[in-house]
């Protein structure tokens, strides 16, 4: 088994405590009240992990640290503090400035950093195994550690290049359309096989070319895996990369025998995997088909638009909407990403405030894929000062549409399409949808009758007797309704 240098017990215990703090950080997110405390647990855990490491490796010759620390001097310690400070400034400034609509891009960017950091740590461990206590007496790296190291840098590199592509797609620097290479499945599987074979070979030969070919191929496969995936599937991709960043940290934890890294890696890995599963279920897509790519190209849009014009539909005005909602007892607002694009959240919240003032009960219904990443819409509403106890998830509110007088759909489309329940030929058949058509009246805010949702299908809801289309910009429409209510 591994013959590696042991850290003293107090260091191991401190890392374990840090791991437990991270578990408590996630546990805190079970409700908004406990979440802030949870986040502080997370910060405390990180301070503990970093503090322990810095203290153990502090520049005191001969005391406390292991023998390989003997050469560490003061200036080097200063360099580390400067590196942390640089990261802190960039991190905090970004976190303060970022718009909540841009959260998916930010998260993708952060994932890429975890991935690249994992690659750097892996490469550092490869170049200087003695410092990590994974060298044998001969100076070669322990064979078991080589496998862990290989897997760690491979997953890290995939996370990095995959997240960079996800970032570019989400940020609009790159088209959301899938880029389909010929024979891509063959190329991808071949590259993956090559990576695994090389990691196996790495055990018997630790030459640099093996290590760096693994890194290079992994960068390439991360890129190849994400380019064919369409914009509509990005929530799954971001969750999946979240998972990968965790597994990369866990693999590095195995190499360094560090319990904080292993526990955290396992937590983050499971978290991302569960979120990907939830997103796939919400879109009625299976994980394999998302990874295989090609969905969400928007080619079907033209066909859907042509069909739209021939059927009769009712148009309403802001005044009609204001009147209907003021008379209602229960109004359920169904926001979609279109609302956030139009920056209409605040106007919608004002509208809701007016209604509450008139004695109307207002609730918000959120579909899991209403935003661009899991839970995104909840954050956008929270930012607009919508109290979280008025916001409900699909399963919790779907039964209430039958009781609602008005369902106010703004910026959402596919997630309200009744065809998902009835039309077996529809591409979105089987996707869980909000039962808005059961409300007495459906008010559907939409820019024009032409466009279709992400899935490129027409929505039957537009032509129902109880639907009134409110055509116009979401923000302007909401503001006009507020005015008409006054």
């Amino acid at each position: 088994m591994h013959e590696v240098a042991h850290a003293p017990a107090w260091v191991m215990l401190a890392y374990l405590a840090a791991g437990i703090c991270f578990i408590l950080a996630l546990r805190g997110l079970s409700s908004p009240e406990s979440s802030r405390k949870g986040n502080r647990f997370g910060m405390f855990g990180m301070v503990l992990a970093v503090g322990t490491t810095l203290f153990y490796y502090r520049p005191v010759t001969g005391i406390g640290g292991a023998d390989f620390m003997a050469n560490l001097d003061g200036p080097l310690f200063g360099e580390i503090l400067v590196a942390i400070a640089i990261g802190a400034v960039i991190g905090v400034v970004t976190a303060r400035r970022i718009a909540m609509t841009a959260m998916p891009q930010l998260v993708a960017a952060f994932h890429s950093l975890v991935g690249l950091a994992a690659v750097c740590v892996g490469a550092a461990a490869y170049l200087n195994p003695a410092a990590f206590g994974i060298a044998e007496a001969s100076g070669l790296i322990h064979p078991g550690s080589r496998v862990e190291m290989g897997l760690g840098v491979a997953i890290g590199a995939i996370t990095f290049s995959g997240s960079v592509i996800a970032f570019l797609k989400l940020n609009g620097n790159m088209s959301g359309k899938p880029i389909m290479l010929p024979m891509r499945h063959f190329i991808n599987l071949g590259t993956l096989a090559a990576i695994l074979i090389l990691i196996g070979y790495f055990v018997s030969d630790e030459s640099p070319w093996v290590f760096f070919t693994v890194v290079g191929l992994s960068f390439a496969i991360g890129f190849l895996l994400i380019i064919p995936i369409g914009g509509a599937d990005m929530p799954v991709v971001v969750s999946m990369l979240n998972s990968y960043s965790g597994w990369a940290a866990a693999a590095m934890g195995f190499t360094l025998q560090n319990s904080a890294m292993i526990i955290t890696g396992a937590l983050v890995g499971s978290s991302g995997a569960i979120l990907s599963y939830i997103m796939c279920r919400a879109m009625n897509r299976n994980f394999i088909s998302v990874i295989a790519g090609g969905f969400g190209g928007g080619d079907a849009a033209a066909g859907g638009a042509a069909a739209a014009s021939d059927r009769p539909w009712k148009r309403g005005s802001a005044e009609d909407a204001a009147f209907l909602m003021k008379q209602a007892e229960l109004v359920i607002i169904v926001p979609g990403y279109g609302m956030a694009v139009a920056q209409a959240q605040h106007a919608v919240r004002e509208m809701a405030d007016q209604l509450k003032h008139e004695g109307v009960t207002v609730k918000y219904a959120i579909h899991p894929v209403a935003g661009r990443m899991p839970g995104h819409m909840n954050v956008l509403l929270a930012e607009a000062n919508v109290p979280y106890d008025e916001v409900f998830e699909l399963e919790d509110i779907n039964a209430e549409f039958a009781r609602a007088d008005v369902a106010f759909v703004i910026g959402a489309n596919d997630v309200t399409n009744p065809a998902a329940k009835t039309d077996k030929s529809s591409p979105i058949y089987g996707m869980p949808v909000l039962d808005v058509e059961k409300a007495k009246t459906v008010l559907f805010v939409k820019r024009s009758m032409g466009g279709v949702g992400y899935a490129g299908v027409d929505n039957d809801l537009f032509y129902r007797d109880n639907t009134m289309m409110l055509l116009g910009d979401a923000k302007k429409m909401a503001e006009e309704i507020v005015k008409s209510m006054g």
Partner: protein, 94 residues
């Protein structure tokens, strides 16, 4: 620690992760992602060891680069999570 001990920690932590993450309310899935992002940067521990170790200049610089990247993530991740969580308010407190 031998490999089996480490593997045991890992497997048990996966189970803990599975149950803890399912208990997270869907309303907080975005903060969940940003906080997991921050904590996965515990990889900074490895970066610090590399940066602090003597013996290889290449290893030291890779370590320092990784420290910068992981620190961006740690500070950015926790700060943006705190910023989001501060927005989740109840009706009464408005």
């Amino acid at each position: 620690m031998d490999f089996i001990t480490i593997l045991s920690i890992f497997v048990l932590a996966c189970f803990v992760g599975y149950f803890v993450v399912w208990s997270v309310t869907p309303a907080l899935h975005t903060p969940l992602m940003s906080v997991t992002n921050a904590i996965s940067s515990v990889i900074v521990v490895g970066a610090l060891i590399a940066a602090a170790a003597a013996g290889s200049t290449g290893s030291k610089w890779l370590g320092l680069a990784a420290v910068v990247m992981a620190s961006i993530n740690i500070f950015g991740g926790f700060a943006v999570t705190a910023r989001m969580l501060a927005m989740y308010k109840k009706k009464e407190r408005r």
